[in-house]
């Protein structure tokens, strides 16, 4: 396992810091399972937020959008525990995550939030479906028991927000240079990226039925705002990292960040949203579906690049030494 095995020590420069290029810190073992969890957990949490927004601010006409968003949240939450448990090196002990609560550990905060969010969301979806059926039976257009629905919307939306947002803190609270240098920008970027992906997932799901081929204008505004914010935060975060951004500046990961996360995930959906407004109805639906699919692909690419980049950053003794001088 000795990580120095393949390295050639070469002649040593007495002024150079470091020890034969051996990494100063040990990198995380996290790979695509964790990137996939960040992606799906982000969509789920953000969709629950969208559902809550629709019910708390949108009035009766937004009930249908709220139901779609809640169902997307539940469907994307289901694979999350699977990814997380498979990533554990001792998966049968996954319930040990709920033995203690450690506020100093974002992973502890996240485990509890995920469990609580799962409970609220399941209840929320169940009650919404029940109300929908009751409404149909009674042939009523007005909402049934909005008080309970609003309370559930608030709780599932708030816990979903924590699930969508804590992952930035999880990465920031490490010794990994790429993740820990600008914790506030990384956290804001993660929540914005979750909102872009969540809005895209809800949009795509509601467009799948050709009958409702129109995007909800409020959701579209939120999606455009999230994507624009995510783009600004991504550029700002990378710029503020300076040389620490090296793993994401070059090579394959640099390509994935620029063209996947930035191009496909942020720029393309924004352009498509603007262009789709002038298209005929059927073309508009296809274009918006394409935009949502690109936003989702880009969202995953960004998470994947940040997770992988953290491993490269850990293995770079110069990056660690530069931040601990």
């Amino acid at each position: 396992m000795s990580r120095g095995d393949e390295r050639n020590p070469g002649p040593r420069d007495p002024a150079a810091a470091g020890y034969y290029g051996v990494p100063v810190i040990h990198g995380p073992h996290w790979r695509w399972l964790i990137a996939a969890y960040f992606f799906f957990g982000g969509i789920s949490g953000a969709s629950a937020m969208i559902s809550a927004y629709a019910r708390l601010f949108g009035g009766a006409r937004a009930d249908r959008l709220a139901r779609t968003a809640s169902l997307v949240a539940l469907a994307t939450l289901l694979p999350c525990p699977v990814f997380l448990i498979l990533d554990l090196r001792r998966p049968r002990r996954f319930l040990n995550m709920l033995l203690v609560f450690r506020p100093s550990s974002p992973m502890s905060i996240g485990s509890w939030s995920l469990a609580i969010f799962g409970g609220f969301l399941t209840l929320d979806v169940g009650v919404q479906l029940l109300f929908m059926c009751a409404g149909k039976v009674r042939r009523e257009t007005q909402r049934v028991n909005p008080g309970a629905s609003r309370a559930l919307a608030f709780f599932s939306g708030t816990s979903g927000m924590i699930v969508a947002g804590y992952t930035g803190a999880l990465l920031a609270a490490t010794a990994v240079p790429l993740w820990s240098k600008r914790p506030e920008l990384l956290s804001a970027l993660f929540l914005s990226s979750a909102m872009t992906s969540g809005a895209a997932a809800v949009t795509a799901t509601s467009l799948l039925k050709p009958a409702d081929g129109e995007i909800d204008p409020a959701l579209e505004l939120l999606e455009v705002f999230a994507a624009a914010g995510e783009g600004a935060l991504l550029v700002g975060w990378l710029a503020s990292l300076g040389p620490t951004a090296k793993p994401l500046d070059q090579g394959l990961l640099g390509y994935v960040v620029r063209h996947g996360g930035g191009g496909a995930g942020i720029a393309a959906p924004l352009v498509i949203h603007a262009a789709a407004r002038r298209m005929p109805r059927r073309a508009r639906r296809i274009a918006n579906l394409l935009g949502a699919a690109m936003a989702l692909a880009g969202g995953f690419a960004l998470r994947f690049a940040i997770v992988e980049g953290g491993r490269l950053s850990s293995d770079d003794p110069e990056a660690v030494i530069a931040l601990t001088r």
Partner: protein
């Protein structure tokens, strides 16, 4: 009741690179080889074929060859878990597997650890590591079992030059500072690593396993001014909350206008 915190003082100026500490540690703690292949690979890094601390290597003797006017200065240091006063691994552990013992040391309870791997990047010194066979995270326990029996940790017991000293942290810290002062008086470029100025910086509040160094910390792969990862939790949480407030405001306007 008032049990003092125990720790190590490891002195690079006394180390002869015999690796007795590595052997004693492996033997007492029954740690298998790092390289299952036979024969083990040679690193080519001076006499260091251990290379790094890891899941199965809790003492690591670094060999630094520094070119000088007269030839090569050979620096040696036995690295170990720092048993930080505020420990990044302990802060990060979500299961409660990592605890602070009655001796002020930090240990991983193997029967609780579920192999999440968060303590690994949370350590600013690169100490804990997941074992590729059993999946758990492992590191130096400062011989918790020996301490409970009133014995000296295996590495310190085996060290033939007293380069590794075991004792109460307060006494070792004073001894380390005296040693650095004496070395400096003799013209040696010595440093004390493990207080809040060097090594125990950035919220770590000092190390219970300290070092006397005769070269810059980075030469031994020790970060000069490490920071406690937990410091980032609050700024991250506040930034997420602020972002969420902005989204909520935008959504409130968007959905109300539509209504």
């Amino acid at each position: 009741m008032d049990q003092p915190a125990y720790g190590f003082l490891t002195d690079a100026t006394l180390c002869i690179g015999c690796k007795a500490c590595e052997v004693a540690c492996k033997q007492w703690n029954q740690l298998p080889t790092d390289s299952p292949g036979d024969p083990p690979k040679l690193s080519g890094f001076s006499y260091d074929n251990t290379v790094d601390l890891g899941a199965r290597t809790w003492r690591h003797v670094a060999f630094v060859e520094q070119p000088t006017a007269g030839g090569v200065a050979w620096l040696m240091l036995s690295d170990v878990c720092k048993h930080c006063v505020h420990a990044g691994c302990l802060d990060a552990c979500p299961t409660g597997a990592i605890i602070r013992t009655e001796f002020g040391t930090v240990i991983i309870q193997d029967d609780i650890c579920n192999g999440c791997g968060y303590c690994v990047p949370a350590c600013p010194f690169g100490v804990p590591q997941l074992d590729h066979d059993d999946g758990g995270s492992h590191k130096c326990t400062l011989c918790y079992d020996r301490l409970q029996a009133g014995m000296t940790p295996a590495c310190a017991k085996a060290c033939p030059t007293e380069s590794i000293r075991f004792g109460a942290v307060d006494e070792l810290r004073a001894a380390g500072r005296d040693r650095v002062a004496a070395l400096q008086a003799d013209g040696v470029d010595a440093l004390f690593y493990g207080d809040e100025d060097l090594g125990g910086t950035g919220g770590i509040a000092g190390l219970n396993a300290m070092f006397v160094l005769n070269g810059p910390p980075e030469a031994f792969n020790l970060p000069a001014k490490p920071k406690l990862p937990r410091r980032n939790v609050l700024p991250s949480a506040l930034a997420s909350a602020a972002t969420a407030v902005v989204f909520t405001a935008v959504a409130a306007i968007a959905f109300r206008v539509q209504r």
